[in-house]
């Protein structure tokens, strides 16, 4: 045994209370230091593992920094063209209704180029789950304005800060989703604190349970940090989520039409 292997073996009086899960690839990601895509990936894979559904699950990856999601989550996967993940997931689920199908989309991908596909899939009540990562920028392409960019936020395309008169106000996806009859569950969470991360995991569990029970469309928005394109160190980026993002994007359950179904699904989350 090497020294690390030795340290990784629980001693007789110990319990391993935090370990990697087998649905997350044992691979170093390309994400920047402090990027919350890593936390989101861990939560989704932990939930799929704990539900025991990973072998029956199909991921639809989107375009953005998380395009390589399919290299990090050990489930079957399809890569969609930019913005079309909810449309591709519609086709996958209709062809294979026995599978758990989810799309993982950024705010540029889902809220901008793919808004039509995203809203119509939700409005049709497709029996899919969408994990929506809102980091207020286009990360992959170098920090352009996204529909979710905060007013006053400087990006490469809003060098003087986003201005309501010319660029409009931040798009609130969870609130939009809640208006659609096809949506069974919509919740907004944040990945900035231990408590909020734990609440996000419960929300993701609930969303997948909604799909497993065949109830309809489920949606979880995750307020996430992009230290690189916010030009902040990761600790400051985390603070920005609580200080600037949550007041504009309040956390909580925006729609729950499950009527208490399915039995045993995670209880309502406990945000900070």
């Amino acid at each position: 045994m090497t020294m690390t292997e030795d340290l990784l073996a629980p001693r007789p009086d110990e319990e391993l209370v935090f370990d990697a899960n087998p649905v997350q690839a044992d691979r170093i990601t390309h994400y920047c230091p402090g990027c919350h895509h890593g936390i989101a990936h861990r939560l989704v894979t932990e939930v799929l593992h704990e539900m025991g559904v990973a072998p029956q699950t199909i991921l639809v990856a989107s375009v953005g920094c998380a395009t390589f999601t399919y290299d990090y989550m050990l489930v079957d996967s399809v890569e969609a063209p930019h913005g079309r993940a909810s449309a591709v997931a519609t086709g996958v689920k209709r062809a294979r209704p026995d599978r758990i199908v989810y799309a993982y989309q950024g705010d540029g991908d889902m809220g901008s180029i793919g808004l039509a596909e995203a809203l119509h899939a939700a409005n049709r009540g497709e029996r899919i789950t969408v994990i929506f990562v809102n980091n207020t920028v286009y990360g992959m392409t170098g920090g352009q304005m996204a529909p979710t960019t905060l007013l006053g936020q400087k990006t490469t395309t809003t060098p003087k800060g986003r201005n309501m008169a010319t660029e409009g106000a931040p798009l609130r996806m969870s609130e939009l989703m809640a208006q659609l009859d096809g949506v069974i569950y919509a919740e907004r969470c944040a990945l900035n604190t231990v408590r909020n991360i734990r609440a996000a995991k419960k929300a993701i569990r609930k969303a997948f349970e909604v799909q497993r029970a065949g109830l309809g469309y489920s949606f979880v928005e995750l307020l996430s940090g992009c230290p690189t394109n916010w030009h902040m160190d990761p600790v400051a980026a985390n603070e920005r989520i609580g200080k600037d993002m949550i007041p504009v994007f309040p956390l909580g359950v925006y729609k729950d039409a499950t009527g208490g179904r399915p039995d045993g699904a995670a209880k309502e989350a406990d945000h900070e």
């Binding site: 690390t4 340290l7 990784l8 629980p10 001693r11 009086d13 110990e14 319990e15 391993l16 209370v17 935090f18 370990d19 990697a20 997350q24 170093i28 990601t29 994400y31 920047c32 230091p33 402090g34 990027c35 919350h36 895509h37 890593g38 936390i39 861990r42 604190t193 231990v194 991360i197 734990r198 230290p227 160190d233 990761p234 600790v235 985390n238």
Partner: protein
Amino acid sequence: MSRIVLLEERCKGCLLCTTVCPRNILRKSERFNHQGYQVVEAGDNAAECTGCAACAVICPDVVIRVFRTRKARDGRGGDA
């Protein structure tokens, strides 16, 4: 005492874990890993670890494993 194991090669030095440890055990080290990141380490007070796993929950890169010491049933020893 409970304990953590840091898989240093995975660490990106973001320091998020240092902000959540209730005992302030984690700190920036003087070492760099093969990715080129300055990694964190457990400090001199590592023995104060409560096994709460807050550091592992916030780590975006699955660097940390947490081992919680069970309370001794005979009432002797075990302070977790």
